[in-house]
């Protein structure tokens, strides 16, 4: 078992993450142009949808990253609650807005894709409804985190709701499946267990875009945690100055 508490010291985290952030950022800046070039120019048009299929390269990785973000948020929250790891709550809080943004991108690009292909901006089928509920779960986490005057209390409460939400997401997905028997949204084409049902000329741009999104997630996750650590230092410094001011005022 890795001793995670070795990385609990914020200074240690800052030291470890400071080389990682530029590397991840650089990878993001490299992968996005490559991925977009592959997606928009190299990959073939679909025989049915023609050029509109290219929205897939933005929509599908966003969906994958949204689910990954929620999983990461739940895992970090669990680590914070079980092992009282001081940075785990900060990491969960930093993942949340990134995950919410990916979910929103997924919903909006999906809507834009649906209009020319299905003829409708929105439909209440299983996948769309589940992703919409996922967005509400992210927003609920963020609102609960900031709803307390004591930030630590908010962090713990939000951690619990992240874990509860994670337990209920499969149930929600299953029940939403019951809603629509004739789903409009395509099923999964890329599965880990079997060979993917998607041609490699489309799979490689998809994978490159997914890698770009992942590097984006890592970059901004690390940046978010570093910013929060620095903000905490600023707040501590302000408090110390205020206390010194009070002491000087008392002694005069």
């Amino acid at each position: 078992m890795i001793n995670l508490h070795r990385y609990a010291n914020p200074n240690q985290f800052m030291r470890l993450s400071s080389p990682l952030v530029p590397v991840a950022g650089l990878l993001t800046c490299l992968l996005f142009p490559i991925g977009l070039y592959l997606a928009l120019f190299v990959s073939p048009p679909d025989y049915e949808q023609r050029e509109t299929v290219r929205i897939m390269y933005v929509h599908v990785p966003a969906a994958w990253m949204a689910l990954l973000s929620y999983t990461l948020m739940a895992v970090f929250s669990a680590v914070a609650l079980i092992w009282r790891h001081p940075l785990a709550n900060v990491m969960a809080r930093s993942v949340a807005p990134i995950g919410a943004s990916f979910t929103l991108i997924c919903l909006i690009t999906g809507s834009l894709w649906g209009q020319p292909t299905w003829g409708t901006w929105w439909v209440w089928d299983a996948r769309l409804t589940s992703v919409l509920i996922l967005f509400f779960l992210f927003v609920g986490y963020l609102v609960l985190y900031g709803a307390f005057d004591d930030v630590a209390k908010g962090a713990r409460a939000a951690g619990l709701i992240a874990i509860v939400g994670f337990i209920f997401v499969p149930i929600i997905k299953f029940s939403v499946d019951l809603l629509d028997l004739r789903t409009l949204h395509q099923g999964a084409s890329v599965s880990k267990l079997s060979s993917p049902a998607i041609h490699e000329s489309m799979m490689w741009p998809l994978m490159v875009m997914a890698a770009a999104y992942l590097c984006y997630l890592i970059t901004f996750l690390l940046l978010g945690v570093r910013t929060e650590i620095m903000a905490a230092r600023v707040r501590a410094g302000q408090r110390m100055r205020a206390e010194k001011g009070i002491q000087r005022g008392n002694s005069e």
């Binding site: 779960l137 927003v139 307390f148 209390k153 409460a157 509860v164 939400g165 149930i171 029940s175």
Partner: protein, 221 residues
């Protein structure tokens, strides 16, 4: 067992003394359901189609209104600290409070729902299944609501926050219940959905007391 019944009696007594609380929740339920025909139009066929959904959404919203006071009043007057120190498990206390909350909120909703179903032109077959789904699922709402209430003790705008947190988790109940009534109206077999609702209740019965107890301990730190 005795401690459990004492706790339920205590909550019922406090609710009886503040009986306007129960009354206002039921009145909100009725009002919310009555607003829909006024907004959608009085055509009976339309109303019959959307009746299960309306009644269920209104029941959910009415339940959300009553939830933030579940633990807040105890936290305010210090009883929560005493309950945390009690020799009985905190999970038992949570179940007792959920039970009292259901008797005070869920039961009145179940009793009023048939009248509202008639207002919305729901035929008798649909009404029966509507009541059945309410009976099975309102305890689930109380259980999940207790988790939300425990998490938002001392939060700003706790009432709205409980709704924001718990309503996404309650969507399976809404979907399955409304679907069950729709199937019953057409004459198809709705028992699998009732079974699923029962399963959801049992899952919540097992998970929610522990989560709510953990949240109460966190709130008291």
């Amino acid at each position: 067992m005795r401690a459990w019944s004492i706790l339920v009696q205590r909550d019922l007594l406090m609710a009886w003394r503040r009986s306007s609380d129960i009354f206002s929740v039921v009145m909100f339920f009725i009002l919310a359901v009555v607003l829909f025909p006024l907004g959608v139009g009085p055509e009976l066929d339309t109303l019959r189609k959307i009746a299960p959904g309306i009644i269920w959404v209104a029941a959910l919203l009415a339940a959300m209104l009553s939830l933030d006071q579940l633990f807040q009043s105890d936290a305010d007057d210090g009883s929560l600290d005493l309950l945390l120190l009690a020799p009985i498990p905190l999970e038992t206390i949570v179940i007792a409070k959920c039970c009292a909350h259901w008797m005070v909120t869920g039961l009145p909703l179940i009793l009023v729902a048939p009248i509202l179903g008639i207002l919305l032109n729901l035929p008798l077959s649909g009404l029966a299944v509507m009541i059945l789904t309410l009976v099975i699922s309102t305890p689930t709402i109380s259980l999940l609501g207790s988790v939300g209430a425990a998490l938002t003790i001392g939060a700003r705008r706790g009432g709205v926050l409980v709704a924001l947190l718990i309503l996404p988790l309650l969507t399976p109940i809404l979907i399955m219940s409304a679907n069950a009534v729709d199937l019953a109206l057409v004459g198809l077999n709705y028992t699998p959905l009732i079974a699923l609702l029962g399963a959801f209740f049992l899952i919540c019965l097992v998970i929610c007391p522990f989560v709510a107890a953990a949240a109460l301990r966190l709130a008291a730190e």
